[in-house]
Amino acid sequence: MKKEIIVTKKLSKYYNIGQTNEVKANDEIDLIIKEGEFVAIIGSSGSGKSTLLHMLGCLDTPTSGQVILADEDVSKMDNNELAKVRLKKIGFVFQTFNLIPGISALENVTLALMPYGLSKGKEEDAIKFLKELGLGKRINHYPSRLSGGEKQRVAIARALINNPKIILADEPTGQLDSKTGKEIITLLRTLNKEKKITIILVTHDELLLPYVKRIIRLKDGKIIEDTKNEE
C-alpha cells in the first residue's frame, strides 16, 4: 500500500471575496496523491489548475481548507516555513524555465542551496545530474547560450538537487517544440519510474497524457474527472 504524499481537504482559493466579481479559482477540492504517482492536471484556461499547483507547491496559501504534504499540514505555515518546505520537499519545473541569467548552468542548479551553505557533495550531485541529463558539456554555460530543451533540463536538474519527494511542473513543454517536448516528458517519466519521485504536471497539451499514470480534469475550480491511465 503506497503512502499518501499529498492530501487536500476542502481546499479553496477565492479572489475578490464578497465582491460582485468574486472568483472561485479552486472550490473545496479533496484530493489524495500517493507516493510515486505521475499525475497530469488538465483543464481549460481559467479552470484553476495552476492555482491548485501553486497551493500544492506552497507558493500560494489557500483561502480555506488544508494541504498536507508528507504528513505535514502546510496550510497555516508562515513564509519562512513554506520556503523550507519548498526547499526540502518540492522541485519546480516552470514553463518559462525561470533560470537566472548571468550565472552558469551549474550555479543555477545549486542556487537554491547557496544561502544555506553549499557542500562539495551537493556540487558534485549537481554535476552528476547535469551529466545524466545530457548537459555534461554545458555545465559552465550561461542560460543565454542554451537551447530551450537544454534550459528545461537545467531546470529539471535544479528541481532534483535536494532529492525532493515531489516535482511540480507547470506546462513544462509549453515553450518547446514537439520533439523537445517529448524528450522532456520522457525524462520526467524516467525520473518518476527510476527515482520514484511523485510528479504532478499541469498541462493543456493532450499529447502528454499517454505518458502519465493519472489524469485529473478541472473545471470552474472543481475536479470533474479523475482517471487512471492504462500502462
Partner: protein, 373 residues
C-alpha cells in the same frame, strides 16, 4: 552568498559603476574637505604656538598695526618678577623688490637683536642659515627661506625695502603661511617702513620664566598699566580661532554630509532600479527555497560591497585631491587614519541605508507572480 553577490554586480556593470561613482564622490568629498579643515586647524595651532607669552599693545588699539607703545616700558617690564624676555616688536607689512622680482606684500617684523639674542621662541628668531641680526647691523635683514627662493637670492644677496638696499644675512625655515613670506630686521628699519616715531614699537612681547606665571603676569600688567597698555595672550585669541575652526569643520562636515546624502541617494536609486529589474528573479529564488531574509541579505551585501569598493577608491581620490590642493595652492591638508576610518564607515552606512529600501521592496515579490508567464 558572496559569490552570487559578485556575479550579480558584474552582470550589470553600468549600474554598478554608477553606484560606485555615487559613493566615490561622497567619500572623496568627505576626505578632501575634512582633511583641509584638519590641515587648517593644525596650521593655526602651530602659528598660535609660535606666539609665546603675553603681548602688550597700546590700550584701546584694535590691531597691532595701529598700536604705538613706547620702548621705555621695556626696562620697567623686565624688572617684573618672573619675566624672562621683554621683546619690543614692530609688526607691519611692506612691499619688497629684488633684482629679479617684486613682491607687493610681505610681513615685516622689527626686533631688538640685543634683547632677543638668546631667544628662539618664534620661527623668525631661529636662523637656520647665515646668522642672526646684531644690534650693530646696518641695512641687514633675515628672511624666510621660502621668500629667499621666491626672490631668487642667496645669503649675502640684496633686497630693496623702502627704496633702500638691504643685505640678506640669514634665513629661517617656516611652513606656516603667516611666516613663510617674512622679513625680520632691526626696529629702526621697521620704524622707517611703517612710519613709526622713534622710540615707539607696535607691541612688547613679555615671555615669562615659567609658562604657569603667564596669567599672573598678565593680571599684574593689566592692573599696573591700566589705560596705557592692554595685555593679551594667544590663548585668548586661540579660543576665538579654535571656535572658528570648529565652525569651519562643522561647515565642511555639513558640505561633506550633503555629498554623502547625494551619494546615498545615488546608491539607493541604482540599487532600487537594479532590484526592480530583478523582481522576477527574486520570485524564482523564493520558489526554489530562498527566504525573504536571504534575498534582503543578498541585496544589502551587494550594496555594501559596492559601497566599500567605492569607499576605498573614494578615499584614494580624496587623498589625491588633498595632495593636489596642497601642491598647487599651498592649502594645508591632514589625512588621518581616523578620517579614513570615518569615511569608510560613512561609505558602509551609505551602502546599508541605500540597500535597505530596495531590499525591503524585493521581499514583497510573490513567488507566484514571478513564476507565472
Amino acid at each position: 552568498m558572496i559569490k552570487i553577490v559578485l556575479k550579480n554586480l558584474l552582470r550589470n556593470k553600468r549600474r554598478s559603476l554608477l553606484t560606485l561613482i555615487g559613493v566615490i564622490v561622497g567619500v572623496a568629498g568627505i576626505v578632501s574637505l575634512v582633511s583641509i579643515s584638519f590641515g587648517v586647524a593644525e596650521n593655526v595651532s602651530e602659528i598660535l604656538d609660535s606666539f609665546q607669552g603675553i603681548y602688550l599693545m597700546e590700550a584701546g588699539a584694535v590691531d597691532d598695526q595701529y598700536s604705538r607703545v613706547d620702548v621705555s616700558y621695556v626696562d620697567e617690564l623686565q624688572k617684573l618678577q618672573g619675566v624672562k624676555y621683554t621683546l619690543p616688536q614692530i609688526f607691519t607689512t611692506t612691499p619688497i623688490k629684488s633684482s629679479k622680482v617684486r613682491i607687493p606684500v610681505v610681513v615685516l617684523i622689527g626686533l631688538d637683536p640685543e634683547l632677543s639674542k638668546d631667544y628662539e621662541g618664534a620661527v623668525y628668531y631661529q636662523v637656520s642659515n647665515g646668522r642672526k641680526l646684531k644690534s650693530t647691523d646696518k641695512n641687514s635683514v633675515v628672511i624666510s627661506e621660502n621668500l629667499r627662493k621666491q626672490i631668487g637670492q642667496q645669503i649675502g644677496g640684496q633686497i630693496v625695502l623702502n627704496n633702500e638696499n638691504y643685505r640678506i644675512i640669514g634665513t629661517f625655515e617656516s611652513d606656516l603661511p603667516l611666516f613663510d613670506m617674512m622679513v625680520a630686521t632691526t626696529l629702526d628699519v621697521a620704524r622707517k617702513a611703517a612710519s613709526i616715531d622713534e622710540n615707539m614699537v607696535t607691541m612688547i612681547n613679555l615671555v615669562p620664566e615659567n609658562p604657569d606665571d603667564q596669567d599672573r603676569l598678565k593680571e599684574i600688567v593689566s592692573i599696573r598699566y591700566k589705560g596705557e597698555l592692554q595685555a593679551m595672550d594667544m590663548q585668548e585669541s586661540s579660543g576665538i580661532i579654535t571656535s572658528f575652526i570648529g565652525n569651519l569643520k562643522i561647515a565642511l562636515w555639513a558640505i561633506s554630509g550633503i555629498a554623502g546624502v547625494v551619494g546615498g541617494i545615488v546608491v539607493t536609486n541604482t540599487m532600487l532600479m537594479s532590484v526592480m529589474e530583478r523582481m522576477k528573479e527574486f520570485g524564482i529564488l523564493k520558489a526554489i527555497g530562498w527566504q525573504n531574509s536571504h534575498i534582503i541579505q543578498m541585496i544589502i551585501t551587494e550594496s555594501i560591497v559596492l559601497s566599500l569598493i567605492g569607499g576605498v577608491i573614494g578615499v584614494g581620490f580624496g587623498m589625491g585631491i588633498s595632495a593636489f590642493a596642497t601642491y598647487y595652492s599651498n592649502v594645508p591638508t591632514v589625512v588621518t587614519i581616523d578620517l579614513i576610518i570615518q569615511a569608510m564607515l560613512f561609505a558602509l552606512v551609505m551602502g546599508i541605508v541605500g540597500g535597505i529600501y530596495p531590499a525591503m521592496k524585493s521581499a514583497k515579490m510573490s513567488p507566484v507572480e514571478a513564476t507565472v508567464g
